[in-house]
């Protein structure tokens, strides 16, 4: 599969990939039937994966309408390309990579130049995480629930959010992220670190301080 000059290949299945994306009952059979053009089987694959694909799009884009459009695009791509899935990786890993590539292509079309990632998706000074060389504060451990974290992630500047979601949530490696975002591995590591620093800062603020366009959709 060719998306924006990138060959769509199946990632090698390391132990972590299958652990994070374990096979789903009935999925393998549905894949084989969908490959043969069985519409009901494709409908089953949609039912099994729509939430994760849509959630991934929503986190990357921060916008319900665009996320729904990209979910539709992802499944249409799947419909066209499912014959090329060879089962070398977990199906969901393959589908998520396809989705990420489509979302990135969409963002590039919108004018986000991911090639010069360093310049274009770095946040402004006021969005940047504060360096922490001395202040002592409340510890986070044990105090952050899923809702608070989801809100904080939605409040991140787009460049930080992208790398955080791809690495810490979706489980992609830095070298994979660097390839997808067309940046250096070092830049991916640095963006992730800044994202976590920013999240720490956001999570230590009183809850009303955490805001963002996605607040209502993040819950």
């Amino acid at each position: 599969m060719e998306i924006q000059g990138q060959q769509m290949t199946e990632p090698k299945a390391g132990p972590g990939l299958f652990k994070r994306n374990p096979p789903i009952a009935g999925e393998a059979e549905a894949i084989e039937r969908a490959k043969a053009g069985d519409g009901e089987a494709f409908s089953k694959l949609y039912a099994l994966h729509k939430r994760r694909v849509y959630t991934l799009c929503l986190r990357m884009l921060g916008n319900v309408s665009e996320a729904e459009d990209m979910t539709q695009e992802a499944f249409l791509h799947l419909f066209r390309k499912i014959g090329s899935f060879r089962g070398e990786s977990a199906f969901s890993t393959w589908l998520h990579r396809l989705t990420v590539n489509l979302v990135l292509m969409h963002l590039r079309k919108k004018g986000l130049q991911l090639v010069s990632l360093e310049e274009t998706i770095n946040p402004s000074e006021e969005d940047a995480p504060k360096r922490d060389f001395g202040s002592r504060d409340v510890q986070l451990s044990g105090s952050v629930d899923r809702v608070a974290l989801e809100r904080a992630v939605a409040s991140l500047p787009p460049g930080y959010r992208m790398v955080f979601v791809l690495h810490d949530v979706e489980g992609f490696e830095h070298n994979e992220i660097a390839t997808m975002l067309e940046c250096s591995t070092g830049n991916s590591k640095s963006q992730l670190h800044k994202a976590r620093l920013k999240l720490r800062e956001l999570l230590r603020q009183p809850e009303p301080m955490i805001s963002g366009e996605m607040k209502e959709t993040a819950l």
Binding site: R20, G37, D38, G39, E40, F42, S43, Y46, K50, R51, R52, Y54, T55, L56, L58, R59, A67, E68, T71, Q72, F75, L76, F79, R80, R131, D132, F133, G134, S135, R136, D137, Q139, L140, S141, V144, R146, L149, E150, V153, F164, D168, V169, E170, G171, H174, G186, K189, S190, L192, H193, R196, L197, L199, R200, L203, T217
Partner: protein, 96 residues
Amino acid sequence: MTSHNEKNDSPMTCAEFQEHLPELFAAGSEGAMDDPKLLEHLKTCENCSALVRDLQYIADQARQLLEPTHDPSDNVWEKIKNSMAAEAPTPDLEKI
């Protein structure tokens, strides 16, 4: 917080320690801190050890976000179904 000192054998400062953090986290447990100066700083600096704990906690908590919580509207499937039928009008697709 450790005070800054320019000498090579001097204790590491917080700023110096924190410059190493992106690589240290990327290396994970396999590349655990084998530099004695980093380890020493981590042991003696309450601020940096709290920072490392918090960042590790955030990375760990992020995994719970893998479980999806959002559903696309029913409209999305309708559009997919219509596009599929237009691309490959087979009796099978008309059934779904």
